[in-house]
């Protein structure tokens, strides 16, 4: 081999090269008379990238972390890539959902034009997210972040001949770009204090520094990532943009793009702002609870099925943010008196949060793809018209029910376990009144959410179908296939939660332990 690509760059290279080759494949496919060539090519590229990420993950577990940087621009100055267990875990979740969506889009998008651009953008979207997780300095992170965001903006407005995607996409673009600029503005203060953008050297230099400027920077970074993660006062773009996008892209945005924001919050908070010195856990918990409560109340008012699922995504971001808040709060309050207890509770909470990232990515992706099937058959997102459609589309309906039950947290399914772990972490220190109150609100919200998930399920599955829904047929095979596989994943992980929980636990440790030591 004359050219050897480092193992950490292989998934990125595959995704970006494939994105460039998709239009060529489209051209060749049309010459040969097989339009589907580019679709299959995109699916194969994503499968390959997922395989390479799996290989990277195995390598990371073996060695602890995989690093890459250019020899002549070594850290702390140049570009650096580094995969630890958290990065590789998140990257695999992103790529897995991308693969499902690409398979689903083969039939779902076939009536649209410009599909070469669609697949190229889908590949750059996944590549951007994978790059965000693998980046180890803020410049690299920012480049991949914008790659992801720009692909997202264009994909939301893919059907630009309708008014809804244009309005929603413009709103998304303005808010999300403002968020990423704010994030980078906050990073510039960190740069001023340390003179480097590399994560390792920056966190070493910021250790034990406690300046007011750092709090400003902390706020800017959290708010900036929080726009993409849709934390509650910053969530207003999400319920517009997610329903307006084509259903596969809704699944990507709701399932994983907001998780990239969550990854940013997790990574930047726990790497640079040691919770033993910075007191932000309580505020993060309050924001998480606020996100949960507001989004739950709003979800109840929706008649549009995709809008309802979009609000439910915000609810689930609330759980994940609260988990981070619990971890930070426990470390702030109890680390000095009882380091062992504080560390174990924090790892438990973060592992619960990361497990929920996986569960929500699969579950919400499943729900959006199902609503896409309904949209494909009946051409409406109105819950009143869709009543009873599950009886005419048994596979889709059954998978939708599994997805709804999983997100509602019904015991044998995956969503139950991650919520349970977050709640248990919140209740682990019984003498702390604040944590008990926050966790109680979280439990009430979980019950409330379960009620409306069951209400949706009852309407879709149990009522008599009316005229338009009664005429529906089962969706094509390649659309049902990813849905059924994802529903099966929900059940399998629900029965054997240790499969993913052990990975989430390793990821949480790799995030937390280098910072607090021990």
């Amino acid at each position: 081999m004359y050219i050897s690509i480092p193992i950490i760059l292989q998934p990125l290279v595959i995704l970006f090269v494939a994105a460039v080759l998709v239009p060529l494949m489209d051209y060749v496919g049309r010459k040969l008379g097989s339009e589907k060539l580019r679709d299959v090519f995109a699916v194969v590229a994503l499968a390959f990238a997922l395989y390479k990420l799996y290989a990277l993950y195995i390598e990371v577990l073996k060695r602890g972390a995989v690093e890459f940087y250019l020899r002549s621009f070594a850290p702390p100055y140049g570009t650096a890539f580094r995969a630890d267990a958290l990065s590789a875990f998140m990257a695999m979740v992103f790529c897995l959902l991308g693969l499902f969506v690409a398979v689903y889009s083969i039939r779902y998008m076939e009536e649209d034009t410009g599909l070469d651009k669609y697949y190229a953008l889908l590949l750059t979207l996944v590549a951007g997210m994978v790059g965000v997780t693998l980046a180890w300095d803020f410049l690299t992170l920012f480049i991949f972040w914008e790659t992801m965001a720009i692909s997202g903006y264009v994909l939301v407005g893919f059907r630009k001949y309708r008014w809804e995607p244009v309005e929603a996409g413009f709103k998304y673009l303005i808010m999300s770009t403002f968020g990423s600029v704010l994030m980078f503005y906050g990073v510039s203060f960190l740069y001023g204090l340390t003179g480097t953008l590399n994560f390792t050297s920056m966190s070493q230099q910021l250790l034990n520094v406690n300046q007011p400027l750092l709090y400003i920077s902390l706020c800017m970074i959290v708010v900036g990532f929080g726009v993409t993660a849709a934390m509650v006062p910053l969530h207003t773009w999400l319920p517009d943009a997610h329903p307006a996008a084509p259903s596969g892209i809704s699944a990507m945005l709701s399932g994983v793009v907001i998780k990239a924001g969550v990854y940013g919050i997790y990574r930047s908070l726990f790497t640079f702002f040691n919770p033993a010195f910075f007191n932000y856990g309580a505020i993060l918990m309050i924001f998480g609870i606020l996100t949960l409560t507001v989004a739950n109340l709003m979800a109840l008012l929706q008649r549009d099925i995709k809008r309802l699922f979009a609000y439910s995504s915000i609810v689930n971001i609330g759980y994940i943010i609260t988990a981070a808040g619990i971890a930070a709060y426990v470390l702030t309050t109890y680390y000095s008196s009882n380091p062992t207890l504080a560390t174990s509770v924090a790892v438990f909470a973060l592992a619960g949060g990361l497990f929920h990232v996986f569960n929500h990515a699969i579950g919400k992706g499943l729900l959006f793809l199902c609503s896409g099937c309904f949209l494909h058959e009946v051409k409406t997102r109105d819950l009143n018209v869709l009543e009873g459609i599950g009886r005419r589309m048994p596979w889709t309906g059954a998978s939708l029910s599994i997805g709804l039950l999983a997100l509602a947290g019904v015991p044998p399914l995956n969503g139950f376990w991650s919520k349970l772990f977050i709640i248990l972490a919140g209740l682990s220190i019984p003498q702390d009144g604040f944590m008990i109150v926050v966790t109680s609100i979280l439990i009430l919200n979980a019950i409330f959410a379960a009620a409306y998930y069951l209400w949706v399920m009852q309407r879709i599955m149990l009522r008599e179908p009316k005229e338009r829904a009664a005429a529906a047929h089962e969706a094509p095979f390649t659309m049902v296939l990813p849905i059924v596989v994802m529903a099966a994943l929900c059940v399998i992980i629900g029965l054997f939660p240790g499969l993913i929980l052990s990975l989430a636990d390793v990821a949480a440790r790799s995030l937390l332990l280098p910072v607090i030591g021990g």
């Binding site: 903006y153 244009v166 309005e167 403002f178 510039s188 740069y191 003179g195 207003t236």
Partner: protein
């Protein structure tokens, strides 16, 4: 005579405030995109000023690289933003964001 870096930081914060004001108040879609560009410029200026402060030389290669890369990304964002503006104009015949009110909470 070179000004101290804190002047540039103050200027950058003022610029950021102007851009945020523009984003919040203006009704014309083009002006909103311009507001976004002003905010981006404020961020660039702050990086340059911080590089100056951190290394005590006005020419800090790392910050120059950051700003150049970020400018390229900003150009892409602006292109997509203007694409949306054009399509919104085709739908509504107006650049007023108040016309874009069909999406409710």
């Amino acid at each position: 005579m070179a000004l101290s870096p804190s002047w540039y930081i103050v200027a950058s914060i003022v610029l950021f405030a102007i851009g945020t004001y523009c984003l919040a108040v203006k009704r014309n879609m083009i002006k909103i995109v311009i507001g976004l560009e002003i905010v981006t410029s404020a961020m660039h200026l702050n990086f340059i000023a911080m590089g100056y402060a951190a290394s005590a030389v006005a020419f800090n290669p790392l910050t120059q690289v950051i700003v150049i890369v970020s400018t390229c990304l900003g150009a892409c964002v602006a292109t997509v933003a203007v694409m949306y503006v054009i399509n919104a104009y085709r739908h509504y015949g107006s650049l007023d964001v108040r016309k874009l009110r069909r999406l409710r909470w």
